[in-house]
Amino acid sequence: MIKIENLHAKVNDSEILNGINLEVKRGEVHAIMGPNGSGKSTLSKVIAGHPSYEVTEGSVTYEINGKGKDLLEFEPDERAKEGIFLSFQYPIEVPGVSNIDFLRESYNTICGHQGTSSVDEEEFREFLKPKIEMLGMNPSFLNRPLNQGFSGGEKKKNEILQMAVLNPRLALLDETDSGLDIDALQTVASGVNKLRSKFNSIVLITHYQRLLDYIEPDYVHVLHKGKIIKSGGPELALELEDKGYDWLIN
């Protein structure tokens, strides 16, 4: 699905990524863990195409219609159309644009690109119904301005709702667990699990092992100073929970 080789990236002249190598295959779930400032969020933003980050070295190859393409050549909206989705750690509030209009615009653009026909508002509301129920959201959220005045938990649920609507091939979930209470965490995790399939891949970025109790990864990687310093199976996360990061860093 995606192959990252020797990736270096900087923002405002400070190097954040220092040679990342990572391959995520179709159907796999990878967790990326690491202390604050290790470059986890940067990695997800570089993959999704945030313009503030400059790639200085290395490559990102993404599979489109069975062919490996240079992802770094694509604009962020083009990456989204090719099935890349980033769930934001801090979703942006957009006053004056209703949640449903935004979702439908996004759905029609992305799914239109992938060959699905556009839906009108009525059809779209029907399509959303089970997804909203799955996430335990109040349907009135659809009519409110995008993320405006949403609590932290509501914003995160809204991100997963977008993921459910857009059905991405590669989902990058950046600290989707932060700011969630236990009930909300379980709801969000079960939502993600329902979207997990052998056709798509998920990269979970998290500080804590807690999320991985609910969404079990195939692989766990530890990021430190912009490099992956250790990779393993789900047991690595448990070991980190027990011992912290120090034993790997020092």
């Binding site: 999704a48 195409g49 945030h50 604009e75 909206d77 990456r79 980033l86 957009v94 004056g96």
Partner: protein
Amino acid sequence: MEVLSTKAFEKFEIKNAKAFEQFKKLGIPDKSWEGWQFTDISKKFWAPKSLVQNNTEQAKLIEAPFEHRVILNNGDLVSSNLPEGITLKEIETENWDTHNPIDTMNASFKTKTLLITVAKKTKVSTPILLMNRYTAQNNEMALTRIKTVVEDFAEVNFVEYSDGDNAFYNCSHEILCHDNAITYYTQVQNFNDEAQALSNVNSEVGKDAHFYSLTINLGAKVHRQNINVNLNASGATAHLDGVFALTGSQHNDVYTTINHNQAHTYSFQLYKGILDQESRGVFSGLIHVPQDSQKINSEQLSKNLLLSKKARINTMPTLEVYADDVKCAHGATVGQLSEDEIFYLTSRGINEQKAKKLLCQGFGIEVIEKLKDQDLRQWLTKLLVNKLEEQDFGHFEET
């Protein structure tokens, strides 16, 4: 073409000699005038060529979902459909603000004033459209003069929509909001890119009365708007909101004055500017509180979004406060769209142009969303969105 001086008007048929003498005495404001330093109309405006002649051509009416309406053509009444309790009459122009060059210019050439009276205790909350259309061309001068009287305990919601081509416009309004009355007055000004427009609003607000003014400025080559509010008795409250969206080399200058003439009077202002390309915006707000006007609350905020490095905004609050027990807050912000905001939308498949439009829409719509009437909110939002469609967001990074 000739620049603007009072001499340029002498060749027209003077309708009111007294007003014209006064206009000549005042002269055309230039940079040396207090409150006109950012818009030197003696240089910014071309002199009008003649008074508007053609008054028969039917200008196209904009679609609007409002049943009650008054239609004006070049400032003259054509037709009306009004609910009970609201009456219309054309009266002789009787008074004007002798210190105000816009109003004095207007009175010199407009002998008829359209008087709209909302009778005591009449309550009509659905919007009434005042369609102020013009057929003036080639820098002809067209004028509108309206006096609105909202009597005690009445409530009304007017929406005035003005559009027109490359001409010289002068619109003057007097809005009297009597004791306990509630007046909503929205003005949409959507001239073409060659139009030159002056507009003046003077409002008197009585005891426990509320005056809500919303101005939406979408177009004109150059536009200067004065809004002057007198809060004359305790409980008198003014809400002045506005949004302007400018492109090309458009110039828009809003100057508000609020006189808190009595204690326990309140004013709230929020003006938002969206400026693209080489456009220029000005917001100046003067709040005057004399010594005996205690227990005043006054808020003023000017928020602006610059979409290009060549766009300019001047924003200047002025407080003249002589009383000591008052609350006056003012602030101004000037910003750009952030990369993080744009990225959030583009990461959902929306292209960069569209993302910027949605963010500008969200920014501008704040003042519209305060309105109670849903049809009106939707209609105004559509007008703003259509204007944003014209904006060229492409050069944001490269300039």
